[in-house]
Amino acid sequence: MAPPDLTAEQIRDFRALAGAIIPPSASYGVPGADDERIFSDILRSLERDRDDVCQALAHLVRLAGGAFADLEPARRVEVAATFREAGGAPLAALVRVVLLCYYRDDRVMRSLGLEPRPPFPRGHVVEQGDWSLLDPVRARPRMYRGVD
């Protein structure tokens, strides 16, 4: 049976948490993880982590004593800090999905100087390097043990 979709309440909390993990930054000119495009990608990408994400969100509600999204900003920071310490494997899965989607967003990648494209077919350039660095190793005597 396919795991159930997140409820509207869970989605609100999840989005608020994503924004607490990675808020937008004017200094770096990047959106937060709660950005509409990025958060939609997150919701589409839960697949194997859906159960863990649901567990993590349930834990968050318990810590917040209700909807995390409805907390005052200062209280949110407090609850998020506690959750970060206590969230365990389900939270690690949730954070992983957030990061997977955040760091493939075109705007975020460009801000990091990364090209928003797949590796294939253009590949990358890796410099050959200075092979004369090997000269002292070439000059070493045989290192492997004889067996005869």
Binding site: R104, V126, Y144, R145
Partner: protein, 532 residues
């Protein structure tokens, strides 16, 4: 019921492909059963924008996470190291880094030289021509002249050093320690129909360019052209025996779950160090109540992994990141036994180029390096593309309590019992890992790295599955003889990593394939009296 074949190979990975290709020139009827599918180059993650994300889904290295219909579950709860594999044509050569060192001459003589474990019944000199043949078939890039090895001549030049390689080279020279460009099966020139590497960087989960050698694009096209039949989506449940105690054939399930019997004159197992003992232990009969060819009781025992101790740090300038094959150098400085150390045997260092942007974020988040909130962005920018790291691949000595058995409850999608692993890291290996971490910290310091981190053992680091049906001349202390034939069943052979007596401290694929070619040659030379 299918027509009887002369040779039935189970598994199409590193060893199954090599033995199929080599035996093809006998003109025998050869069939290979593979539980997975062909993987198309267009399916590989590096084709799409989700290339890093797929490391956590359909191209996850751990089969329990990946959980494709072609995978089987593994109970690895009682092991600090989790299995890495891939099930498909090419097997785990689809899902490997293509690092291709050979075992050393001393690795075959550990009892004689160091008084531990057992010597192999064969030696480096015996395998040398098969190493060379396999280097040619797989297409190896590297550089002749490494003082850590007997002479060899890789057919292609080495991978580029890049910024990270040069940094490591200078550091190793400063310390006076050995380093050398790795032998790798990544083509640095166009080679036998394969295009040269263009530095996609995401090599481990399959190469969209086809530069990385996996046996689906090296051995298999030639074997199939020579007449070998490869049947996919066929999961073997058990090997059956006849009234004389010889292997009669196998029972397998096809993609629709329909049961088949395939008769064979000779059966060859090539399912890796976990899959092979699983199948043997599940092949129970009146003649073999403990599993086929298991009179020694050693099937599944002596599992060896190579514990990996990873140490990494960050420098103050962007390096190669994930651009380029991840591994490009090795060091054998600490490979051979040194009586001044508190452990026997040794390890290889493999040097890593860097990781992708997403993997950096995830690993750093898990390690607590990446804050939540406003500070996240500045912290991340000090990490991305600035990582350099190296792993000590430690020789794991055989211990019978490290083992593969059949799980009493967990089953695959066909109801076949899953393998269960019980494994602990020995005191000798722990000391070796500590030594490796201490030396790695010195190397990273010399390379100008700070913010040093350690992952030891690498949790998802069970790439190398060895020792669970060991080779030897004594039927009471080994499962197969010195040319891969089971002592108990004279038409049953094993060619994968199960037959290793000791593990050495290097990635094993090169030696696994050389052994498979050697066993194939041994079979061919004895065809007239193979079962004597």
């Amino acid at each position: 019921m299918h027509d009887k074949v002369d040779v039935l190979i189970i598994g199409s990975g590193a060893s199954g492909a090599a033995v199929a290709w080599s035996l093809a020139d006998t003109r025998m009827r050869i069939l290979c059963l593979e539980q997975g599918d062909w993987v198309k180059p267009t399916d590989y993650p590096s084709n799409g924008r989700d290339w890093e994300a797929r490391l956590f889904s359909d191209f996850a290295i751990n089969p329990n996470r990946r959980a494709r219909p072609t995978d089987y579950p593994i109970n690895d709860a009682n092991s600090p190291i989790k299995v890495v594999n891939f099930n498909g044509v090419g097997g785990s050569t689809i899902m490997y880094t293509a690092h291709f060192p050979r075992l050393h001459p001393s690795d075959f003589k550990v009892r004689t030289l160091d008084g531990v474990a057992d010597d192999w019944p064969i030696d480096y000199a015996t395998l040398e021509p098969y190493f060379a043949e396999n280097d040619r078939m797989m297409g190896v890039s590297g550089l002749a002249g490494d003082p850590a090895y007997p002479p060899k001549a890789p057919p292609m030049p080495p991978l580029p050093l890049g910024k990270s390689g040069a940094r490591f080279g200078k550091a190793m020279n400063q310390l006076g320690w050995h380093w050398w460009p790795s032998d790798t099966t990544i083509a640095t020139t166009d080679y036998e129909g394969r295009a040269r590497c263009i530095n996609l960087g995401h090599c481990t989960p399959g190469c969209a360019q086809g530069a990385k050698a996996s046996t689906d694009i090296t051995y298999w096209p030639l074997a199939i052209r020579a007449g070998v039949e490869l049947r996919t989506r066929c999961r073997v449940r058990e090997i059956t025996v006849d009234g004389h105690g010889m292997a009669a054939g196998v029972i397998y399930y096809d993609a629709e779950g329909k049961e088949h019997f395939q008769a064979a004159e000779v059966v060859i197992l090539a399912c890796n160090g976990v899959g092979t003992p699983r199948l043997m232990l599940n092949s129970v009969s009146a003649k073999f109540p403990k599993g086929i060819a298991n009179s020694s009781g050693l099937v599944g025992k002596n599992l060896m992994f190579h514990p990996y101790a990873l140490t990494y740090g960050y420098v103050d300038e962007p390096l190669d990141g994930n651009h380029g094959p991840p591994l490009c150098l090795w060091s054998q400085e600490f490979y051979e036994t040194d009586p001044n150390r508190d452990f026997v045997r040794g390890y290889t260092f493999q040097f890593g180029r860097g990781v992708g942007a997403i993997l950096e974020a995830i690993v750093s988040a898990n390690a607590g390096r990446l804050p939540w909130g406003e500070d996240h962005h500045a912290a991340y920018r000090k990490l991305v593309n600035r990582r350099i790291g190296l792993s000590a691949i430690c020789e794991d000595l055989p211990e019978e309590h490290n083992r593969v058995t059949l799980d009493p409850a967990l089953k695959d999608s066909h109801g076949i019992p899953a393998p269960k692993l019980d494994y602990t890291i020995s005191t000798n290996s722990q000391k070796m890992m500590s030594h490796g971490i201490a030396r790695a910290k010195e190397i990273l310091a010399a390379a100008g790295a700070g913010n040093i981190c350690v992952e030891s053992p690498i949790l998802n680091g069970g790439w190398h599955l060895l020792g669970t049906a060991r080779m030897g001349t004594d039927p009471e202390r080994s499962v197969v003889n010195e040319w891969g034939r089971c002592h108990d069943v004279k038409n049953l052979f094993i060619v994968d990593g199960s037959i290793w007596v000791t593990s050495g401290g290097v990635n094993p694929t090169s030696t696994i394939q050389a052994l498979a070619l050697y066993i194939a040659d041994s079979i061919k030379q004895r065809l007239a009296n193979l079962f004597d």
